[in-house]
Symmetry: C2
Subunit: 457 residues, 2 copies
Amino acid sequence: MSPEEFRRYGKQVVDWIADYLEDIESQPVRSQAKPGDVRSMLPPHPPEQGEPYENVLRDMEQVILPGVTHWQHPSFFAYFPANASGPAILGDLLSAGLGVQGMVWATSPACTELETVVADWLAELLGLPFRTDGVAGGVIQDSASSAALVAVLAALRKSGRPGRIYVSSQTHSALEKAARIVGSEVCVVDVAPDTLAMDPVLLHALIAEDVAAGRKPALVCATVGTTSTTAIDPVREIGAVCREFGVWLHIDAAYAGVAAICPELRWINDGVAEYADSYATNPHKWLLTNFDCGVLWVRDRRPMIDALSILPEFLRNQASESGQVIDYRDWQVPLGRRFRALKLWSVIRWYGAEGLRAHIRAGVSLAQRFAELVAADPDFLLWEHHPFGLVCFRPLRTSPEQTLAMMEKVNDSGALYLSHTKVADQVLLRMAIGAPATTVEHVDQAWRAIRAALPGA
Amino acid sequence: MSPEEFRRYGKQVVDWIADYLEDIESQPVRSQAKPGDVRSMLPPHPPEQGEPYENVLRDMEQVILPGVTHWQHPSFFAYFPANASGPAILGDLLSAGLGVQGMVWATSPACTELETVVADWLAELLGLPFRTDGVAGGVIQDSASSAALVAVLAALRKSGRPGRIYVSSQTHSALEKAARIVGSEVCVVDVAPDTLAMDPVLLHALIAEDVAAGRKPALVCATVGTTSTTAIDPVREIGAVCREFGVWLHIDAAYAGVAAICPELRWINDGVAEYADSYATNPHKWLLTNFDCGVLWVRDRRPMIDALSILPEFLRNQASESGQVIDYRDWQVPLGRRFRALKLWSVIRWYGAEGLRAHIRAGVSLAQRFAELVAADPDFLLWEHHPFGLVCFRPLRTSPEQTLAMMEKVNDSGALYLSHTKVADQVLLRMAIGAPATTVEHVDQAWRAIRAALPGA
């Protein structure tokens, strides 16, 4: 495709996306496709001859869109938000257009240095103590899962293998996956039943027992904002335990970490500056930056680099050998890397700190409103902890099966999309607010639809 | 950013990229930035107020471009190509615009089913026996490194831990990295000095010795087209050894695998259909699909899924429980996933099999021409093996240090960009041809510039 053809089709695609975003509310939130529907509409064999790009755009409408669940829909309340935004899409487009591969500094200095700068900017915006100088620093990963794996590898480098990994029952499954990948054992620490936060006294007892038995504790993962209910582990108390035993403390703040951009929510960082060895949060969830963009910071990059650096001849270069540059390939599992810093840079510049704070506050405020609607309703129970955009709740007089059936009914309608979790054998519904297009009307409509789905309503 | 603003700025960005691609030859191929140059031009603190998008585009010119090494430049001959193309960029743009997260089928059925279809299309185009039905199948990964890690984990699931991993001295460092991540030992099998291909007799001896000693062989990685010199391991003979001992055979064809789209190069698949348990190639290298887009196929998905599947409550859904759908989160390390199939689909449809074959043939033909220029020159030695787009060679009468200095001189000029490797203590220069914009003139100019950089020339 020539640059001139790209210019023409590129503008058609931009229009297609702008139209899609303008009309998104005409689509059912969750795809109504059945298994195999999309595949059955696609040719089983690839085309021998090339086709005009118009064919792709036609099939986007006719084949792809019916199979898409619209994560950018203002009534998407499932999982956590996966915010896209105009400047993020444009930053990603610039990255694809440049087509550089930033595996080492030398293969595109701007790819590395802009990443350092935006990681520092974000650390400053969130009040995190990980500015890139000395041995600390930040790096963009594809996800908090990969960030957790990198943290585990760094921790194992310090502890030796096999090192044990300590989580709570509420920790994201990514930690179990990372442990399974490296062949480490996972120890599950109980949580307080009311807050679902890890019990640091039990953690202390578990680690002490392991140390006494000659086992190696490698890493504790504390979560700020669990996936299930946004529970917050007591980082300061957990950190003190880690300090006592020389264990790596990783903070998984995948969803909630970005909320610290608001001074009134900065309390979620309590203990981080004193105790965290690594910290991960995903701008691709609630900070207007489309997937994938997770940021991992480490207090000391050396064990991570020791764990991940392998230098084949073809990557040797003067800049790396000078020690004056960062080679981010040693901060991640894969070798190759996209110029992902461009989208985060675009987002921070377009919105500014003010705009990003306004976005977080809008989500928190809508969640507060939704929680008030639930609390005022005698047919529902509100889960009291909802400092961010997620509100958990359940109908008071339905069985877990009935609650799930009610959720399916709501989701099947296409009017909104909820997800669920389980706490103490009860099914809780999860209303995760945070899409930039969501307004008070969408939240109120969602509440009416949920109420109307109550058995007997 | 409103859809209307996105429409306006999106077209500006499309024009910016089209202009960039049209004028790319006015840029030095390798960035002339020194360590810290880019960072020093960027504000140390994030903006409090948002800025107009024009500021970002201005800084793309003034701050970012001088720090970019132009991988799409027709005189970029370093490493391997990282082809971008118009339809790939547009497919990525559509993915960013939709902003879906395809971790499981249910979160966007089209994201999963289109990926299955394009993986099948590519398998058919390359003559690989891994169509998604029964237990085989393909999946898009970010890179061949991640694909190798997934293959290693599947193999360990079958062999038990700690399982040994067998590579040659020419295998990509990604295998050593994967082994280090999982805590496995790597056994290096010697290569034949002339072809640099793994010696299957030595492999047999090594595995037999390990089995006799009670050690567990887990995986052998055979490479089709090594990074250093595009050497090709004897897959059929290696496969027979793997079959005898029940060891997983992974084929790393990251760069060269896509060449099999041409019937005259299909011989590189010899032995794959009979013996390979997994196979990885990267359309993001030489198949016009911008990074990241690596495809991994497995003959039997079950050990991979057993190794990687963890099902937290929040991901439970009816479609997954029906067994009728694929959840690609269990085919990779991270949980989240982008709609990467769109770009590969765009590329295959725009170019068709014919267009993709023409692209590969253009690279092979230019490499052949370059090899003839080298072979005809009494001051240079040609590395005889160059079936793809890579030609290795060296000046006959320079020391390794002088050869490297000569390469730096060429690269510093900005006229072209070469990389190097080492074979038997000799430095070879690597001329990797494969960018779609490269013509015979660029190749001839490169040769003149290399000749002119000979000491004393």
